[in-house]
């Protein structure tokens, strides 16, 4: 008799979801789904609003990564206004975006995932949290808190607020940078780099413990996508789209991000509110690809900053030129953070960073605009259509977690096949199925969280929906 295991909700991710695992008559896993069960509707509710309001409205999508949506939205409105931000405005946008990447990566690695890595996936859930980390490895906890604080301070100082900042506007930014703020941010750079260095050293020492997980946590061949600059190095704000296959061969390079619709399709499945994107030339569902920190390292030649490039070289020596296991998102996230910190310092030391020319002004010059940037979790695309008065008529958002949706489902299936035993429901299986999702750090765009405090409910259902077994945590 076939059965279904339901994990609801999945904890320590940004949002609400559940996982179902389908068993066949012999009790073997035949399918698995990662369901996003919350509905937002921003693409609909923003219709009819003046387009200049869009960045501020879109920032409300998420309390964790509002800057990412601000950036992509402002770039889409730039496109509608047919205007280029001033060079200083663009650099300040870059800095605030990198601050966002530092704080969000820190949240993902230190707060959400390090408890699993420190205590093991089978440890008591009561200690597998940031407070448990604080007791067992205070330096690791302090480094995570310090990095997140520094990233948030950058957002607050440049954007006006830590959550839902207002400083990024169409045409550039709203506020010029003062020497005092520049110096305050720069003063935090050495400690931020030291914190990531310590975390990378700890991770590299510890990662051998997780060889089994690395081999089964979403370890499959797929394509990867990310933005790269003119040298083919990581670019978190602008540049061209590059897509490589599992062997590193270019599937596409130097693609204008505004043409993404020519390459990326979106599928809708009845079991989730999250759209699934796919690489059009390969069709759906075969056109699976991944985005985010691991993809950024896989598609790029280098990170473009010295210390991060040193670590990238070691990363590739350990896991290969194209890392295929999603478990390596953790390692990649640390290198991505180091790259972001170095880039922030480089930009702040630029000769024109204190310029008063931070915003270009223009009106409605096009009826359609696209903005693309790298969010912490991967490539983010905003696409708007407006009427001649600049009133929004149509919106489409292609978010990082949507790019990764097919890969997450495949990863859950792989882990379930490796760990699920049909005759019982056990914590280790639950922990690993959840943990593989956390590798992708999915953001399901909820603005209020009480993560870790949610109950974990797992149900084993018969084909008629009867509850055959239940586990509650």
């Amino acid at each position: 008799m076939s059965q279904t295991i339901v994990i609801d909700p999945v904890t320590r991710i940004e949002g609400h979801s559940k996982i179902t695992i389908q068993l066949d008559d012999r009790g073997e896993v035949v399918d698995a789904h990662f369901h996003v069960t919350q509905f937002r509707g921003f693409e609909r509710i923003t219709q009819g609003r003046p387009v200049h309001e869009m960045p501020a409205l879109m920032a409300r999508i998420c309390g964790i990564c509002p800057v990412s949506h601000l950036i992509a939205s402002a770039k889409a409105v730039d496109d509608i206004m047919a205007v280029e931000p001033t060079p200083t405005g663009a650099d300040l946008r870059r800095i605030i975006n990198l601050g966002q990447i530092v704080q969000s990566n820190a949240l993902s690695f230190f707060h959400l995932s390090s408890p699993d890595l420190l205590f093991g996936f089978d440890a008591d859930p009561a200690i597998r949290n940031i407070i448990g980390v604080a007791r067992a490895n205070p330096q690791l906890a302090m480094d995570g808190i310090g990095l997140r604080k520094w990233g948030q301070q950058i957002i607050e100082w440049l954007g006006g607020k830590r959550i839902h900042p207002e400083g990024i506007v169409p045409g550039g930014v709203a506020f010029q940078l003062t020497p005092e703020v520049r110096d305050r941010i720069l003063a935090g750079v050495p400690e931020a780099i030291a914190a990531v260095d310590r975390a990378i050293a700890w991770y590299k020492t510890d990662m051998l413990r997780w060889e089994e997980e690395a081999s089964t946590f979403g370890n499959f061949r797929s394509a990867f996508m990310g933005l790269v600059d003119r040298n083919g190095n990581v670019d978190h704000y602008d540049g061209w789209l590059r897509v490589v296959d599992a062997d590193g061969k270019f599937l596409a390079d130097r693609v204008d991000p505004k043409l993404f619709n020519d390459y990326i399709g979106e599928a809708v499945e009845p079991w989730s509110y999250l759209k699934t994107t796919y690489w059009k030339p390969m069709g759906y569902p075969d056109g699976l690809y991944r985005v985010g920190p691991l993809a950024r390292l896989n598609v790029a030649e280098k990170t473009g900053t010295p210390r991060a490039d040193e670590e990238l070289e070691k990363f590739r020596w350990r896991v290969g030129r194209i890392a295929s296991s999603s478990f390596h998102y953790h390692y990649a996230r640390l290198i991505d953070t180091l790259n972001a910190i170095e880039r922030i310092e480089e930009l702040l030391r630029g000769p024109d960073i204190l310029s008063t020319h931070v915003r270009s002004v223009a009106g409605i010059n096009r009826n359609e605009g696209i903005g693309v940037s790298e969010a912490p979790r991967g490539t983010l695309m905003h696409h708007y259509k407006v009427d001649d008065d600049g009133i929004v008529q149509w919106v489409n958002l292609v978010i990082a977690t949507g790019h990764n949706n097919a890969a997450m489902n495949r990863a859950v299936l792989q882990v379930a096949r490796h760990h699920v035993k049909a005759d019982r429901l056990v914590e280790p299986m639950l922990n690993r199925v959840e943990a593989v999702i956390r590798c992708y750090d999915p953001c399901l765009s909820c603005s209020t969280h009480a993560l870790g405090q949610m109950a974990l409910r797992v149900q084993l259902l018969g084909p008629d929906g009867t509850v055959l077994d239940e586990l509650v945590r």
Partner: protein, 156 residues
């Protein structure tokens, strides 16, 4: 990298100002920010408590949190004392409760100040950007309660 001068009082009002009365803690903090009675104190209005506040909390002489409460009668103000270093139970991520914040301060930075939570009973948590009239009337009472707590512990 703390931004609170050691020995100063830290007042943190938190809540969601787009959910009507849930934002009362922030309203109290925003109005106290320029209140001369709290000269020398660090007053902050934030969306929610986060682990990043732990370091600043550890350096403060007293921590006063201001929050909305559905367990207190609407418009009433209740002052609670939180045990230092207690409350290590709940698993959390980027959001922490008051007790976890104190626990983090104690665990990572070796000290936690006396902690008080000023709870304001709320009426409506629906979508809205202003307080209910009864809750608005409670704001000065909550402000006075905060001032009294800070004065009791000193903050120079």
């Amino acid at each position: 990298m703390t931004s609170v001068a050691p020995g100063r009082a830290l007042v943190v009002g938190y809540g969601n100002t787009l959910r009507s009365d849930d934002g009362v803690g922030r309203v109290v903090a925003e109005r106290l920010a320029d209140d001369p009675r709290l000269d020398g104190a660090d007053v902050r209005a934030v969306h929610q408590l986060t682990p990043e506040l732990a370091e600043d909390a550890s350096a403060a002489c007293v921590l006063v949190l201001v929050d909305a409460s559905v367990e207190v009668p609407p418009g009433s103000v209740l002052v609670e004392t939180l045990g230092s270093g207690a409350g290590m139970g709940a698993a959390t991520s980027h959001h922490v409760g008051a007790d976890e914040l104190v626990a983090l301060a104690h665990e990572l930075w070796g000290s936690a100040p006396p902690v008080y939570v000023v709870r304001v009973g709320v009426e409506s948590m629906g979508v809205g950007d202003r307080l209910s009239p009864a809750i608005e009337d409670a704001v000065p009472i909550a402000m006075d309660a905060v001032v009294a707590l800070v004065a009791e512990h000193g903050h120079a």
